[in-house]
Subunit: 309 residues, 3 copies
């Protein structure tokens, strides 16, 4: 049986580590946090979260920090490695073994794929992965699921497209792995060059009903959720490929004419050109509300791993 005790002291590193029951428990806990996010709480009073951001981030860092504050806890950390001992050549494991003396939980973003695992192995306190290179971003996947469940009332039964850069986009890796636990139909929509990363395919094969395609427009009428991601110019060896492709992944009001009325459009943000600002005012736009669910989910995770529930 899954209950609060299942999470006390636990690391949150990869969506591969969680069963459906565990994910649902986290989502239920997040829903329970919604009133506390408005009025504040003393649940984590006296507790300290270290936010170690070895890569720039507004969204994830501020979301974790706000979640900790809403629960009455305190935050220490850094927003870039340059101001830390990393600049003096310290190993990640040593940094972690230092910081665990100063805090009760570590949240971390790092450009390396292995960093979150290395940190979790080194630490005796819980480590929450806030993005590990192109590999995973599990708290984003959990907030995405909570957004979907809140908007649609359910995750099961939906048809969901993950679109854009599926090779380097860590949010879609974590989300695809999480979705293998649900009864959904998935489309992986990307340029050939940016198809879904092979180890994700390996991990979902047999558990998730998915189809790969380059054509978002063609499948649009079927979709309940479009999850768009940023396509970065730097990913293309030939800039001409980028110029040719970027428009086929531009979602604007005209494009959305072909969608179901209650199709919801999500994006991990920041967006650059993928979603036209004209879409923001349509009922399809869920991407700004989506951010709010990050607070609920991260409050839930912090309270759970710190054993406060």
């Amino acid at each position: 049986m899954v209950d609060s005790a299942s999470f006390k002291g636990r690391d949150i590193i990869s969506m591969r580590d969680f069963s459906r029951e565990e994910i649902d428990f986290i989502l239920d806990t997040a829903t329970g946090m919604m009133p506390l996010a408005e009025k504040g709480s003393d649940l984590l009073k006296g507790r300290v979260m270290a936010a170690l951001f070895f890569e720039p981030s507004t969204r994830t860092r501020l979301s974790f920090e706000s979640s900790m504050c809403r629960l009455g806890g305190s935050v220490i950390g850094f927003a870039e490695p340059k101001v830390s001992s990393v600049a003096k050549g310290e190993s990640l494991a040593d940094t972690i073994r230092t910081v665990e003396n100063y805090s009760d939980v570590i949240t971390m973003r790092h450009p390396s794929e292995d960093a979150a695992k290395i940190a979790a192995d080194a630490a005796s306190i819980p480590v929450i992965n806030g993005g590990s290179g192109p590999w995973e971003h599990p708290t984003q996947a959990l907030l995405d699921l909570h957004t979907i469940r809140t908007a649609k009332g359910t995750i099961d039964g939906l048809t969901i497209a993950l679109a854009g850069d599926l090779l380097y986009g860590r949010t879609v890796h974590s989300l695809a792995v999480a979705l293998r636990n649900y009864d959904v139909r998935c489309y992986f929509v990307s340029p050939e060059l940016l198809r879904m990363r092979q180890d994700v395919i390996d991990d979902i094969e047999g558990n998730l009903d998915y189809t790969e395609t380059e054509d978002l427009r063609g499948i649009l009428p079927e979709l309940d959720i479009v999850y768009a991601t940023r396509i970065q110019k730097e990913r293309f060896p030939d800039p001409a490929d980028y110029e040719r492709l970027k428009d086929s992944y531009l979602i604007d009001e005209a494009f959305l004419a072909g969608a179901k009325k209650d199709m919801k459009l999500m994006h991990p943000l920041p967006r650059v050109n993928e979603i036209a600002t004209g879409v923001d005012a349509t009922p399809h736009a869920l991407y700004f509300k989506q951010m709010r669910h990050g607070i609920y989910v991260r409050m839930a995770l912090l309270a759970l791993v710190l054993g406060a529930l």
Copy 2:
């Protein structure tokens, strides 16, 4: 009638938006905050302020953060845009619509003149302008007024010189506009090249008794307040102009011999050469105490816009 309810949910963007009654109400509220600034308070417990500083600042950022802490609230944010999603090409409006999910009030400094207005338009929570390019710095003007009123017992009836860079100095723009609500006599003292910005002149014309001059020494005996500002070398196309002028705006003890005994000298700080350190120990020096009023005024503004009073 102006009361607390007049401010709940309101943006603080420009001194142009406030009547005399509203300004006086803010100043009275700031005075009421003085004991809380010593002993702390739980007035904003559980509330989160986002401090988004797209430009470096010690004074304004730390003052806002301290004010929020003194009221029992928490702070998230960044001190430079490089650690944020701005580096990934995100628009200001998108950053704001994200951050409003994480916080109850946004304080912001930005190099662009329009930024504070753009942010206020995008946000559903209150935005407080902590400096918008050379345009305005309204919380500085309010703390300046509170400093004057505390030192002199009144603002009405005083003769006040704003001296230095009146073209690019945002603090004097906001202060001049604020002073149009009071019965004061103003001198705008600057080199010809750095005369008061035209849109400020337009906005005060007919409401403020002012005279423009290059000669601070000549009017010094009349003055109750000298408000000096930094003159930046970079403002002068010809460095020789700067070298020639900088000394005529250097305030030292000898210079102050010509002032009234109870003339008070203010400066938004940081100073570089404008005020000699020998002046610090004279009874004229009000510029360090002035900083303290930033706490009272910002505590008042945060409590007012968050509806806590």
Copy 3:
């Protein structure tokens, strides 16, 4: 007599300023903080600490911040001077006279030797030196003493080697000066080029039983404590000197075979090559636990100088 009142409002700048009775009182207070470090406290609720880090630091900054949070206080500040008014040419004294309006205590790291003293002179609130160039790092010395006392039950009677860069290493300067108050036998172990700084020698002469040597291996069997420090390549005019020397200061498991069974190995961290990671799991390794004592000692210092005890 030394009691809490001896510390209220006091600056913590140099170990030269403290008697044995005062050091022992701080260490006793730190021991008393150990339970509060686990469960949190409201001792400094409503108080604000400014952390002004003009040089990068993970350890010292996060340790001070965590200590303040554990006591229920709040933190403002900066982790690098670039985001502050220093970039606009402000003097340190002016920065301090500003920040003292926003906070109740200032903690500071600065590349200049004089900075901590200049700040303490300028400030009317307590200043705690978190590292002043190569000169001193008194809170590190206090946490080192607390670590030793906790591990060994006493400081008196021990034989202690300070090894590595004794010329530029500020932690060993403060520690050597602190140890002159105790009945210990000291070895200063360094390459000829990096011998203990002369003003430290002058200050301990006659009060501390010390021997200078280049040979750590030779004295190892006598030692109760080895305090290793980082040797930086940049310190050597001739890189060949560094290459030749660095291995004689590499501590690994084989090297430790010559040590007493209960010899404890300390290091202010970050380490680079001085201690092999294989040593971490041996009973000699005290350097990660050592970090935890920083919390106890800094909690004690903050509570003492703020008069909360």
